[in-house]
Symmetry: C2
Subunit: 384 residues, 2 copies
Amino acid sequence: MSRIVVQKFGGSSVADVEKIKKVAAKVKARRDEGWQVVVVVSAMGDTTDELLALAKKVSPNPPRRELDMLLTCGERISMALMSMALQEQGVEAISFTGSQSGIITDTAHSQARIIEVKPARIEEELGKGKVVIVAGYQGVSKAREVTTLGRGGSDTSAVALAAALSADCEIYSDVDGVFTADPRVVPSAQKLESLTHEEMQELASAGAKVLNAQAVEFAREKGIVIHARSTHTAGTGTAIQSRSGGGRVKGVTCEKDVWVLAASGAPDALLELLDAQAVKGRNLLFDEAGRTLVVVPTQDLHGPEALKAKLPAGVTVLDGCATVTCVGTGLNSDWTVARKAHATARGLGAKVAATYTSALQLTLVVEHQQVTALTKALHEALIG
Amino acid sequence: MSRIVVQKFGGSSVADVEKIKKVAAKVKARRDEGWQVVVVVSAMGDTTDELLALAKKVSPNPPRRELDMLLTCGERISMALMSMALQEQGVEAISFTGSQSGIITDTAHSQARIIEVKPARIEEELGKGKVVIVAGYQGVSKAREVTTLGRGGSDTSAVALAAALSADCEIYSDVDGVFTADPRVVPSAQKLESLTHEEMQELASAGAKVLNAQAVEFAREKGIVIHARSTHTAGTGTAIQSRSGGGRVKGVTCEKDVWVLAASGAPDALLELLDAQAVKGRNLLFDEAGRTLVVVPTQDLHGPEALKAKLPAGVTVLDGCATVTCVGTGLNSDWTVARKAHATARGLGAKVAATYTSALQLTLVVEHQQVTALTKALHEALIG
């Protein structure tokens, strides 16, 4: 029996009809090598943002259940067109929604988590020799409600399917793999041959756009190796796996727009509010004044202005912040990296509002306008 | 218990965000009168055509199963936005896909027929006091495949739901009701207070765009009265019901672009081909040369050029034709109408390629360029 590969193509890889045809040719080539291929697609280009803008015109704070109904159309359009493109190239293909693919999630609209994958229909169609196209980013709850997995959720769809099908997992984008920093910010950034799931998780949750953090967590749990590759070139990309070599600091990344919510006294009311709004704070920490700080990327806030209006007493918002994060296994086993990082920030005159470290990362919270210079300087100082 | 009404709004009634908000206000007003409301929506404006154009760029003859996956996004976008608009106006609402609404169809992709409606989820939400928004034009087969009901299928969705819910049925469009002819073609056309289901079926299948023929057939079978009304005004519109008054000829309508497929000898091979392609011929007749003629609206042909290439020997195509149809109960009980119609055509110098009549209609097949003048002249001669 031939092996199965799950190939995920992001929005910019399927942004128009010509690009869809090119991806179809790439998929066909893989199938012609004897592989059974499952293709996971995102929405075309800016479709998701356009649908979101339409929703905002109707309602400044649209109900999430309806937003999920709306946004899932994006992937559905891509998958149908991809299937047509493959069939036009003589490859038998069939597209499935998240629901038809058996991707069962919890009921948290807009940020659902996959709880089970029942790929019976996919396996049946693969068995008939078809390429199966799956709409990324979406699933269905046990109450048969359509859900979405949050931004970048198509990566999670791909990993979950690879795990359920015991398949290889390849995630394609416009870049050659995972870099030590965003090459647009740090021109000297280098491609990594490999890194660990944990390192990738930290990079992704600290702002690196190349792979989705939940997807990597899923891959780690299931022991799946993710190959991050370029849609346009034939390189081997970067392998995200359980072990990796190389230096201590694997990458430097930043999140350019975050809120820091600071609660003086007991933070329970704040945490309860965030929980009710399904806002997943990236980090929780305590600053020198004894306040609890929650750092949240602004894009993860649903209706930021509405949230501001509901904030409990004693909670203040620092908006216009940014984070710069260094990622590497064992970063907190000594203080070398932390000392170098603070010295670098001081050298730039960047005021550090808060710092936090874990076994895998060190993050500095700074003002928005410092973020690019500090990212470059930390890359230079810690990776070179 | 309050009564249920199913209100269907077509594509031009929900063409943009402002129009969606206006329809939401209209729905809210009805609900505030104490009705339980189910809203069936079509795709916004030209969305379906735009999606179809996208598909044609990928494949000149896209597979219908994938086309259904693609096109159903149109109604899904509308329904989510309509639900958001209602909630924004303080009305509790929830949207359902065809599948979630329990609209079960056969497996004929792109021209599926509804075989059963199981509105349990709709009834449950109505019971909670919510307005339920349903995506028109779509259903799901027993094999859980997404299907569409063909152009105008949202009307069918509305009627089927009204039947299943024992509800009133109102179909809204940009016009005040059903007219004796298209007012853009015949300025003297008058609005009808009522007509029978059978008369409406004939008008619709002969090209009148106001209501879908399958929808009217469904309403007739189930004994549902359809109220065709304007989205923009408060008139009572036209009732389509089991009995009607008025003169013998109720309306004159035309289909501007049809193919006449002519088979000399046994027509079996032609019919088999049309059957395999799920092309529903509008009429089958025999001309004076003993040929079998099948008249098909060009828009119902899937890949006309591909079909031409496959035509069996002995079959010729007359394209560039048009039909003009007079509708009224008992039209063939004497020859008055037929004689007047032929005299009218002769007076215009229009060559009649074929004629056919039934209990409810009389149709002339003419060349495309004669269609407008003949429609006007027949309306003048038979209705006034």
